[in-house]
Amino acid sequence: MDILGILIPVSLLMGGAGLVAFWWMLRKGQFDDPEGDAHRILRDDYDDQPK
């Protein structure tokens, strides 16, 4: 059962990392214009200078 002492913190850390990444994306406005982003990715002129 000693393995639990490692695995539980590891699983919590990994989940927490995902949560922090999600929080960061939300703060940066990555979800503000989902429809526009879906179309923007298809444009060639954004390949060099994505915005």
């Binding site: 699983s11 949560l19 929080w23 979800f31 503000d32 214009d33 429809e35 526009g36 444009r43």
Partner: protein, 728 residues
């Protein structure tokens, strides 16, 4: 802020007249470095880069970014850039654009509530995953110290997560209790609080059952429903707010011999205001100087531009097409008719929120029921065992089992699936209850101009013109920016006509175009100006030398799918009406073309709304389809409303659904989907109730372990979501 322009002696060329004034308007924007434009027409990747490239090519613009979801562009520009010039450039490039007041929109620009809900959902799901992981160990037989450790770690994750994630429920429940009401959130908050409380107590006493996983899963499922609900609602920004943002913010006031730029709201009755061609009239008032033609379609729905001369009344929101005019202010700001329509919309919207949706009806039955059952279970067990701990545990289990995960998802899941399906067919649903209301419709009311028609005029009988007539008409039509002239030039160009060589082409504001063709004077314009009899329908007139005047008639272009839609609706027994602000002959002729028998012509905006209300009083469930400012009050007053994408932002904001495609055929699809969706919602309620009927006796009997609670909650939520997905 005063510049010198001489309104007493306007030059012959409106553009020369406009230059100093235009520079002055720019001065008023000195503080605005950030401009917002509404782009109702954009829909694809080409539009995004087209708009951004056009905007960035304008001098002074530093950066432009299109938001396709909101159909808006935000522009960062130097203080000298004015929004009207950007709109003009976009219109020229083929994108419809309107200026929006960034101050008024600031509140809706960032969807703070949506972000907060999404963050809470993310935290809840993260916590739920981890707690479930730990709970699996307990369910599969961990006991003693291991079980206690699992419970303690679960508590450490679940308690802060539940405190953070459940806030929307707690605050809503508190405000309901303060108002001495019961809503869905009261049993939810109670269930979470009781589950966490008893579980913590059990954990301290090394008890067997802890419901941390159930409490946090409850939060997560309900937040998912809340977020889906919010997404559909967030698109329905207040129509009144958008109307305000569309209002013309600035005006050119004449004082003595000078003009100054002032905010339209600062104007007083009696002031003189100058309105340049291409501008919108900022006030209600009377023309004192100048001749022009006005595009009144925003207020009245009339396709034909109306002539305006000294003495004529004008209204805020109308567009000045051809010549500069001076207007004496009668009413400004909140007193204009435009503002009054905005108020009507706000009132009607407030009235519609009284609609009792299926979800509300379910909640009304559910909330008291749950409390009674769990209270009875607690009292019964307390009397039976005289042990408060057992009684509270049972009460918590009953509350958790009955908690409306499935109920909370039943409606938003169906609405989201139906919205996705209709979006692919070219229809955007903005209001959560719109589908339910659409399913009940038995009367459909259409606006004419811009809704059943394409908004564009189509010249008729071009073939009847002789070759020389066609060539002269083409050359004259090219000399004007009047919408009919543009349509005529377009039609003749498509027919392969070449323009006749004309000299001295002059546009006479408010009347037409004249020129010399060799030695012969030629004119294209209004009937009165050419001394001809005006025809019954929309027409422009051509005269070459002394020859008889030749009328060129126009017809409104029928929108795709309009005829089919009217036929489908009539076949289903839906009563179809047309309400238009246009003149009677045009409306009747059009009604016959599209197949609508009941037509009402020359309806003012408030008359339209009144007519919808009268229909509603007779018990009809009215679907209103319209696009103009004159329709907004009617759209808001109707049981459910649809507007085309080409409609004004305000009209779209006032309606429940927006057609993104050109065709009207999607409306019939929407009604089918609405009926299916309504059926699905009812099925979902049945499924959720069935799970409760199975699980509640177990919980009351004290046989409900945390495993059974988790299973019941997850399977009912899953079944409901999957049932909703069948709609796609």
């Amino acid at each position: 802020m005063t510049a010198f322009a001489d309104p007493q002696h306007p030059s012959a060329c409106p553009a020369c007249d406009a230059v100093p004034l235009a520079e002055q308007v720019a001065g008023a924007a000195l503080k605005d470095a950030r401009l917002m434009l509404a782009l109702p027409g954009i829909h694809c990747a080409a539009c995004i880069s087209g708009v951004e490239r056009t905007l960035e090519a304008q001098p002074g613009v530093r950066a432009a970014r299109v938001n396709l979801t909101l159909r808006r562009a935000s522009v960062e520009a130097g203080p000298e850039v004015e929004a009207e010039a950007l709109c003009a450039a976009l219109t020229q490039a083929g994108y419809e654009a309107h200026e929006l007041d960034p101050g008024i929109l600031a509140a809706t620009e960032v969807d703070a509530r949506g972000r907060a809900l999404l963050m809470r959902l993310a935290v809840a799901v993260f916590a739920m995953m981890n707690v479930m992981l730990l709970s699996v160990a307990v369910w599969s037989g961990a006991d003693g110290v291991t079980r206690d450790m699992m419970h303690w770690i679960s508590a450490a994750i679940a308690i802060p997560a539940v405190l953070f994630c459940g806030q929307p429920f707690y605050s809503s429940a508190l405000s309901a209790l303060r108002g001495r009401r019961l809503n869905m959130d009261v049993p939810i908050s109670l269930a979470i609080a009781l589950a966490i409380g008893t579980s913590l107590y059990e954990t301290m006493l090394s008890g067997e059952h802890a419901y941390f996983d159930a409490a946090i899963a409850l939060c997560a499922f309900l937040l998912a429903g809340r977020y889906l609900d919010h997404r559909t609602r967030a698109n329905a920004r207040s129509a009144a707010q958008e109307l305000a943002a569309l209002e013309v913010p600035r005006a050119l006031r004449l004082t003595g011999g000078t003009t100054e730029t002032v905010a339209a709201a600062d104007l007083r009755p009696g002031d003189l205001v100058r309105v340049l061609p291409g501008g919108r009239i900022p006030v209600d008032g009377q023309v004192t100087d100048g001749h022009t033609e006005l595009d009144r379609s925003i207020m009245t729905g009339e396709t034909l531009p109306a002539a305006a001369a000294p003495g004529d009344a004008v209204h805020a929101g109308e567009a000045n097409l051809t010549g500069p005019i001076t207007v004496e202010v009668r009413a400004a700001g909140r007193n204009t008719e435009l503002a009054r329509i905005g108020d009507l919309v706000a009132v009607a919207e407030a009235g519609r929120s009284n609609y009792t949706s299926l979800a509300d009806a379910a909640a009304k039955l559910y909330a008291p029921g749950v409390h009674i059952v769990s209270a009875l279970a607690a009292i019964g067990w307390f009397l039976y065992t005289m042990d408060l701990r057992v009684a509270l545990n049972i009460a918590a289990a009953v509350l958790i089992i009955t908690c409306p995960c499935a109920l909370g998802l039943a409606v938003p899941a169906v609405t989201t699936a139906a919205s996705a399906r209709l979006f692919r067919k070219g229809l955007l649903i903005k209001n959560g209850t719109a589908l339910e209301r659409l399913a009940e419709v038995d009367t459909a009311v259409f606006d004419k101009t811009g809704t059943l028609t394409d908004g564009a005029a189509e010249p008729l009988d071009l073939n009847a013109l002789s070759l020389t007539e066609a060539q002269v008409a083409f050359a004259l039509a090219q000399g004007s920016s009047h919408p009919l002239a543009k349509a005529l030039a377009g039609g003749l160009q498509a027919a392969g006509t070449s323009p006749a060589p004309l000299t001295d082409i002059r546009e006479i504001a408010g009347f037409g175009v004249e020129a010399q063709w060799g030695d012969t004077p030629v004119r294209l314009g209004r009937a009165g100006w050419l001394e001809a009899e005006p025809a019954a329908e929309t027409a422009t007139y051509l005269r070459i030398g002394r020859e008889p005047v030749r009328p060129i008639r126009f017809a409104d272009q029928l929108r795709d799918g309009a005829k089919d839609l009217v036929r489908t609706l009539s076949d289903r027994g839906v009563r179809v009406l047309m309400l238009s602000g246009d003149v009677a002959p045009a409306v009747e002729a059009f009604g016959a073309r599209v197949g609508i028998d009941e037509c009402v012509a020359e309806a003012r905006p408030d008359a339209k709304a009144a007519m919808i209300e009268a229909l509603a009083l007779d018990g009809a469930k009215v679907l209103m389809v319209g696009d103009g400012m004159n329709d907004t009050a009617a759209l808001a007053a109707a049981h459910v409303s649809i507007s085309p994408a080409s409609a004004l932002e305000a009209a779209r904001a006032a309606s429940d659904m927006v057609l993104t495609g050109r065709s009207l055929a999607a409306v019939a699809d929407a009604m089918d989907t609405a009926q299916t969706a309504r059926g699905r919602i009812k099925e979902n309620f049945t499924i959720a109730t069935a799970y409760n009927l199975l699980a509640v006796p177990l919980a009351v009997a004290g046989l409900c372990s945390p495993l059974i609670a988790a299973l019941a909650m997850s399977t009912s939520s899953l079944t409901v979501s999957l049932n909703a997905l069948r709609l796609r």
